[in-house]
Symmetry: C2
Subunit: 517 residues, 2 copies
């Protein structure tokens, strides 16, 4: 059966990925020698978008419309074929709120205005595992109610990651991984010996599979925080030339940008990538800004030192904590310095690894989440619990085995009730952390206080705001996930607590609007 | 029965308190108008010492000989009576090692060379409680194996401390304490209204009782870290005049200096004493240096900011942590800055108070102890667990009710086996704390390593020092207080761990002297 030369749909939902495919030449190197681009115009926007070669003579181009209504398009190619036409952008379907944007300086909202409270997890190469493990991951992501997942395009070479991935991003053959052991794998770090790749010819199947995975998490309401580069490499992907890097970046941007749930993480532990310089990172950033027509969120993740999050192209902080003791406790400071959303993507994983970045208890990780959220930041999860299958969520996805993941939905439900887009830290006392609605800074008495006591174990706490404002008082056990109604109180009042760790008190103004000044 | 005019003993043990009493005038104000002093000469020392008026016409003078053998003395008074004679200083009795001194820059040893590892506790006014509570305190101090106790000469006015003490330091009458409530007591802070004291007339009974308590803890092998001033005051003791302060200091020094277990803490939270200036503190320090003939240890305890521990008169840091999250974790830094022993006298107490300085779990306090000791410092305990009797160890002494105190003897036994005077922090890895003997810094491979994993939960750890040194490997559960022998290992070796918090690994060179380089 002959393939139709040009295919596209005549409708798409708002923030959906409209796609056109055109059959073209298969000779030479279409990745470097050919091009496809399109211009789109609707009532409220006009955009020029690049497409990509998808192998076997197929060229594709995708476009994400940001508005409803009729769009005209004109697609051109380097091989003389072009196409014009229109399509209809229908209203967004249920669960589709558009891409996530920065809102109220420190927070996020979907483009339709719905607040987005990031509760992320890290599964570096979950999508490069077997089909059955990928299914497990998706099920567990949903069960845990994560709404962001960080993962890599390149495969991962590291302890517990010595086997080959299901596919590679380039045409060619990898080094023999059977020589690797837990003791010698470091000797192969960021080297390319024994590999034979053509860095000008992508393996479209690798990228098609990742696109399918991006869409699968999208269907679950999960943002795909895509790590485009990383140092955990034995194949030479971390030490390609400038030109090869740029070709890769442009290909990734052409393929993935039209998916509304994409975030760009330029790198994981950028400062460990010894072949890259600050100039390189700034060049990649420029390429993203030029070639992502939708301005998806952009950040970069550190090992030792933060990237300068004040750079204008960075939309939010993507932090790995630098200190083994302090992480979430610094959120308020980081907000002041960077004036952007503070996302703690790595604050030690729940686990029992030999490594200090992967061996805290579930209790401690949940504590760090609460400390981060109550200070107006967002935290990320990861799990590194050893098991006979060596299936470690942090890298492989699969099954969740810990204790912390069960408790983030409870936190999310509480956070999502704060008026406005999120929480601001408020200095009620030095020995607890208190969150108030970001939008209520000007009020003398806020409508909502959430006070968290962390590892301290008070048997009671006393409060005084004013003589007249009436509060509903609730005692929250953040570990056991209970909320106890303690009735209402005003003036000076005392709240009895159980004298154990991980407790919080929520105070909500009884009469909406009371206390405004 | 008539009192003998002059009494003294013809013998005393080394570092004991030899005492002479002389009957003299009872008229006028003997505290300010009279004096008594003595000169002492033995084979190895010559000292001039001041005595004090003890009420009812009795003048006393005490002397602590630092050497064995015959001492000549000559005691003179302002009222024309003098006495000359000799006494024998016998060898120190069992358990008497002399006063504690600084050893090896960061550590302590008794004057006879025995190492002293400080495991302190705080019971601010234990000695001003009832006789039966004092007995309880002494029993519990012994049971918990504390070897230092911090307490005040002046009574304490604070939450949970609203009743009057068993005695006052001055002649006069206190304000009516029945007006005090948990809500209003702050209004009386550092004020003197309603009190009627003669600050030139001490109450000898108050001081005699404290002396008896100093001697009781001495018999238990416990150092008395005496807090001479503090801000928790409703009687005006914190806002006396310069002259009254100096008279007080000289009286305290004359009375207590001859007890070998005395340490001088100039103040608790000196920076909260609003009536005192830095000049005042330096003046008190000068008085101590002039009037304490034995150079007992001297420090001063902070609330917000440290006193400048580099001042030459300060023998060691007496730290209250400034950060709710970090305390013991900073010991290595503080050692570098101050080059003196670092004693963490206040790092939050085990308890459930409403106050952030008194509501951590026993587990967290024990963790802080291990973090401090393994970094070459020393930590102090306190307990603030509410109970129906409102008997809070931190202030009243009495019974220990927590979980941490049971675990310090275990720590002590481990620390006391380190060769030399104590531990130095050694940077094996960023994600654990490792202590080695202070005396072995020059060795490439030390004879003893103690590695503590704190709140991390590794399932195993790997080690490599060199190919030849053989180590005895022990796994220590610091909370459950077990030590598991794992045999010997050399070269690269792996130690299995239970994947839970509060574990440590002790590595001891099998052959003493091997590995010296």
């Amino acid at each position: 059966m002959e393939q139709k030369a040009i295919k596209y749909s005549d409708k798409v939902q708002r923030w959906g990925a409209w796609e056109i495919s055109i059959q073209g030449p298969d000779c030479g190197n279409p990745f470097t020698e050919q091009w496809i681009k399109g211009t789109f115009s609707g009532k409220s926007e006009e955009k020029t978008v690049k497409g990509f070669y998808d192998g076997e003579g197929t060229y594709r181009l995708r476009f994400m419309p940001s508005f409803e209504g009729t769009y005209k398009f004109r697609v051109e190619t380097g091989f003389g074929i072009s196409e014009e036409g229109t399509f209809e952008t229908l209203p967004a379907e249920a669960g589709n709120h558009g891409p996530v944007r920065v809102a109220d300086t420190y927070h996020f909202a979907y483009e339709d205005g719905t607040p987005y409270y990031s509760v992320g997890t890290t599964c570096y190469v979950w999508e490069l595992q077997s089909d059955s493990r990928i299914r497990d991951t998706l099920e567990n992501l949903k069960k845990a109610r994560f709404n962001k997942i960080r993962f890599c395009i390149f495969p991962k070479h590291y302890a517990y990651n010595l086997t080959d991935p299901r596919s590679f991003p380039y045409e060619g053959t990898p080094m023999d991984c059977s020589v690797l052991t837990a003791d010698n794998f470091n000797d192969y770090d960021e080297k390319s010996e024994g590999n034979h790749w053509d860095f000008t010819r992508f393996n479209p199947e690798h990228f098609r599979h990742i696109e399918a995975c991006i869409q699968k998490v999208m269907e679950l309401g999960i943002e795909a925080d895509i790590i485009v580069m990383h140092p955990y490499d034995r194949w030479g992907f971390s030490c390609m030339s400038k030109e090869e890097d740029d070709l890769y970046w442009r290909y990734v941007l052409a393929r993935f940008s039209a998916y509304r749930n994409v975030w760009w993480s330029l790198a994981n532990e950028y400062d460990l990538m010894e072949h890259k310089t600050l100039k390189d990172w700034e060049r990649y950033a420029r390429i993203i800004c030029e070639e992502d027509p939708y301005s998806h969120l952009r950040s970069i993740h550190n090992c030792h030192g933060f990237y300068d999050y004040r750079r204008p192209w960075i939309t939010h902080c993507s932090i790995q904590r630098q200190d083994p003791y302090l992480s979430a406790e610094n959120v308020a400071q980081w907000r002041e310095i960077y004036r952007k959303p503070v996302v703690l993507d790595e604050i030690c994983y729940e686990g029992n690894l030999q490594f200090g970045w992967g061996n805290i208890s579930g209790r401690e990780l949940v504590r760090r989440f609460w400390e981060a959220f109550l200070r107006g930041g967002y935290a990320g999860h990861g799990e590194t619990l050893l098991n006979p299958e060596e299936e470690l969520w942090w890298s492989h996805g699969g099954k969740l085995r810990g204790e912390s993941w069960k408790r983030f939905g409870f936190l999310y439900d509480i956070i999502s009730k704060v008026p406005g887009h999120g929480i601001a830290p408020y200095d009620l006392k030095w020995d607890c952390v208190c969150g108030v609605p970001e939008s209520e800074w000007r009020r003398a008495v806020k409508s909502w206080y959430l006070i968290y006591y962390g590892f301290t174990c008070p048997a009671f706490k006393e409060f005084y705001f004013d003589d007249t404002t009436e509060f509903r008082v609730e005692v929250i056990d953040t570990w056991n996930m209970t909320i106890e109604d303690r009735g209402t109180a005003k003036g000076k009042f005392r709240v009895e607590l159980p004298g154990r760790e991980y407790m919080a008190v929520r105070l909500t103004q009884k009469k909406e609007g009371a206390g405004r000044k």
